[in-house]
């Protein structure tokens, strides 16, 4: 099973940067303009009790749904991917360490 993680690491180093950059770019395209385009609502009632459905908002307030959807999906995939990488890497380190130490113990144990 060590092999799968070594493989993952190599593949990662090779295409990781490009893939991650692409996904982050997608994410930025999806969400950041949406955040930037949001203007403070002018005559919105103060409390959240009476919300205005998005379709009735002035056109300046609306954000294309596509950006939100793409942003959401890419976020999920990026985060899950990063977490997987993190766990794999930590596991790798620990397993190397264990193997190294056990080899040491065997050597010193024998001599």
């Amino acid at each position: 099973m060590l092999s799968i993680f070594l493989w993952m690491n190599n593949v990662l180093t090779a295409i990781r940067r490009r893939a991650a950059l692409l996904l982050v770019a997608l994410l930025c395209w999806g969400v950041l303009p949406a955040v930037a385009a949001q203007q403070p609502p002018q005559e919105q009632p103060k409390k959240f009790d009476e919300y205005v459905p998005a379709s009735q908002l002035p056109p300046t307030e609306q954000i294309p749904a596509v950006r939100l959807v793409v942003g959401a999906y890419s976020f999920v995939i990026v985060v899950v991917f990063l977490y997987m990488v993190s766990v794999a890497r930590r596991l790798n380190t620990v397993q190397h360490e264990v193997a190294r130490l056990e080899a040491d113990v065997k050597r010193t144990g024998r001599s």
Binding site: M1, I4, V31, A34, Q38, F48, D49, Y51, V52, P53, A54, L57, E61, I63, A65, V66, L68, V69, G71, A72, Y73, F75, V76, I77, V79, V80, Y83, M84, V87, A88, R90, L91, V94, Q95, E97, V98, L101, E102, D104, V105
Partner: protein
């Protein structure tokens, strides 16, 4: 890693790759339109977030009762997954809400309760990371309190107006939309199990490392 891990990982990856296709083929939801597609990722994430929280709570309880280390490992792994899926839920939610409710955040019951529960899970991780030796039991106590707190959080926040869709949304969805949803749920569940296995394995290896260090000292 157990034998089933590699094939399961491949299946899971394939399922996730298929989700956009499955979701795109789901019928268009009339009132919310395209942005409803976020729901297919948001809802399974929320369920996995809850699942992680429950697993962590139960494992912590068992750890406090009998002190077996494997319960602690389970609790730690589950807590990390809770934070992960909670993050996914809390980000996809507002992205969906911005379009449907016109606002990024609302203080309604489920949203606020999720936020607070997520913060308790994050506090668990902070405690494990920075609490120093002996923080396993403390974290277990925290997880237990967190779990016991959930009904109180719900009741206390309940006085705020609720505009989150009621739980009955799932049964009332047309059957053709139920299919993609359950497919996504299955993918997420598989992802959860895979990540959980990996994470527990990490904890086991760490424990083994500690044991080797200890034996070296002797």
């Amino acid at each position: 890693m157990p034998k089933w891990f590699q094939p399961a990982a491949i299946v899971c990856a394939l399922m996730f790759a298929a989700t956009p296709i499955v979701i795109a083929n789901a019928p268009f939801q009339s009132t919310m339109g395209l942005v409803f597609k976020i729901f297919f990722y948001h809802m399974p994430s929320a369920w996995m977030f809850l699942l992680g929280g429950i697993v962590c709570g139960i494992a912590s309880l068992r750890y406090l009762i009998n002190g077996a280390a494997r319960h602690d490992r389970t609790a730690f792994a589950a807590a990390e997954l809770t934070v992960l899926f909670g993050l996914l839920t809390l980000v996809t939610g507002p992205l969906w809400a911005r379009k449907t409710w016109g606002t990024w955040w609302v203080w309604d019951v489920r949203v606020t309760a999720s936020l607070v529960s997520w913060m308790i899970a994050v506090a668990y991780l902070i405690l494990r990371r920075y609490g120093g030796p002996g923080s396993e039991k403390l974290a277990a106590g925290l997880a237990l309190f967190g779990m016991a707190n959930v009904p109180f959080i719900y009741i206390s926040v309940n006085y705020w107006r609720t505009i989150h869709p009621a739980t009955s949304v799932v049964p009332t969805l047309p059957v053709s939309m139920g299919g993609p949803l359950w497919f996504c749920v299955a993918s997420f569940l598989m992802l959860f199990i895979l990540l959980f296995t990996m994470r527990v394995r990490l904890e086991e290896q760490r424990a083994r490392l500690d044991a080797v260090y200890l034996s070296l000292d002797e």
